[in-house]
Symmetry: C2
Subunit: 293 residues, 2 copies
């Protein structure tokens, strides 16, 4: 398969970074020893100023973006907060985000105790508070020609997934161009890294779309809406609650996007059918990507 | 494809249970309206005696097993605890597990605040305490002929996955027979339901194996070891930490088990190669199962 043009990316995966995978020796179905690449997981303990917030298990790249994005998506950092510094200690696996504003989330963290355990990742008690107040951009559109181009570009971009499997990918896109492609063991971390990147580089969400390899669960929808991105696309399936939340928030939700096929589940009005689907090839049997999650 | 013989199952999925899926109307790549089945998610708030422990997002079947299994796998219930009753209120989405022993996990739940956010699900601070003390059965074996029979049986068992996608499956097996097949939106819930079932029906773990559709992450390995099941098999990939923990615990870990292929990553001594692999068919292109997660 032809490799993607990487020039449109601001960030793309780096499968050559040896710290992100390691080799183990397994034994295959014939009894022969084989060396395989596997994804690494390491801890990242996130502090907000003086307070220890959480320990995330992560692939380990972009710890600063992950720390900032996690705090943003948990409503512990506000869009207008001034970040005065981020200290990352690789050996201690600690990232400390410092802000001008004094912060104290002792109460918020107590609340988490009673409501976490959501299907994936960590959800604090009041994460829905912000959700209900967000108006997604009505001007955003998605041409189906962009959708097909995005899928082709992303699926042919070299990734840790192609090298070692067992990892999720999320991509921030603008029209037909993928911009920021992050991977992680947990898909919520991949999203949080993008949120951190967007915050620190002042990238506006209103005309962007999100492409993910994972399932469209409630958590994916909530995070996308929180980030004010109006369109969410996945190769994978979706849950009833994910669809329901997308409808309530006016998010354009597209699942099972593979080859020429896709399924719009909410926010139909943003999708412009500008392609003759008979001109689009179906996905080859051995495409780079399997269903995520 | 021939449908599996369901007679060996103690529990198997029930795709005809209308409460577990719902229908939504989407619009496909040609612009046509289509009705699709989607998996439901609902809350289940688990109490242990007087204490509210967690709210899980779950498919919604087997709430009693899920509640008991969750508490067991969090070390809040002990193997010898006498359960005096389980109250489940469907409308309130609450399950209360009552024990003879008085319980108080206020301190434990505080600990969680600082360490949760693991790649999947909820991990309490001291979950590794028990992990280090477990000796897995050395007598357990896995014949490769069983592995192939299990995969064939499980992949042809009617499931919510086949109906609606976006769901994980875990199966407790004995030799070549699948016994308890649970599905859930989060794979940790599927495992916890099996743990609850095993506890309440006094099923011994030492000669069993676990088959899962999801990735072999650290969390999957930790839960399997905690449950004292000596063998874990998955269709999907694995992470470095998952392999590392399996090696430390002496767990037999097998990944990428599809068609005739599989890869043993730890606990090699339990695997007995009793099949001529040339006699095993490769998986058909359109098998019932994709890679999970």
């Amino acid at each position: 398969m032809k490799q993607a043009d990487l020039s449109s990316y601001l960030v793309h995966p780096n499968p050559d970074n040896g710290a992100l995978t390691s080799q183990v020796t397994g034994r295959d179905h014939t009894g022969a020893d084989v060396d395989v690449d596997v994804v690494t997981e390491r801890g990242l303990t996130v502090y907000l100023n003086k307070q220890e917030i959480v320990t995330l298990m992560t692939l380990g790249d972009h710890p600063q973006y992950l720390a900032v994005g996690f705090l943003l998506n948990q409503n512990m950092l506000q869009a207008d907060d001034v970040i005065t510094g981020i200290d990352y200690d690789e050996e201690l696996e600690v990232a400390i985000v410092r802000t001008q504003r004094e912060t104290d989330y002792e109460d918020k963290m107590k609340k988490k105790v009673r409501t976490s355990g959501c299907a994936q990742g960590t959800v604090f008690g009041d994460i829905m508070e912000k959700f209900d107040t967000i108006d997604l951009s009505q001007d955003a559109t998605l041409k189906t020609s962009w959708l097909y181009q995005l899928a082709r570009q992303i699926n042919t971009t070299p990734s840790i997934y192609q090298k070692a499997g067992a990892i999720h990918g999320c991509v921030l896109c603008h029209k037909a161009q993928p911009l920021v492609y992050m991977e992680d063991v947990g898909r919520h971390n991949a999203i949080d890294k993008i949120a951190g990147y967007m915050h620190m580089h002042k990238i506006q969400p209103h005309d962007k779309c999100f492409y993910t390899t994972g399932r469209l669960t409630s958590e994916m929808v909530i995070k996308t809406v929180q980030m004010q991105i109006p369109i969410l696309i996945s190769r994978s399936g979706f849950t009833a609650w994910g669809v329901d939340l997308a409808q309530k928030a006016g998010l354009t939700l597209i699942g099972r996007a593979k080859g020429r096929k896709f399924l719009v589940l909410a926010g139909f009005e943003r999708v412009h059918y500008d392609v003759d689907v008979d001109q689009i090839a179906d996905e080859p049997k051995h495409a780079g990507r399997k269903n995520g999650d």
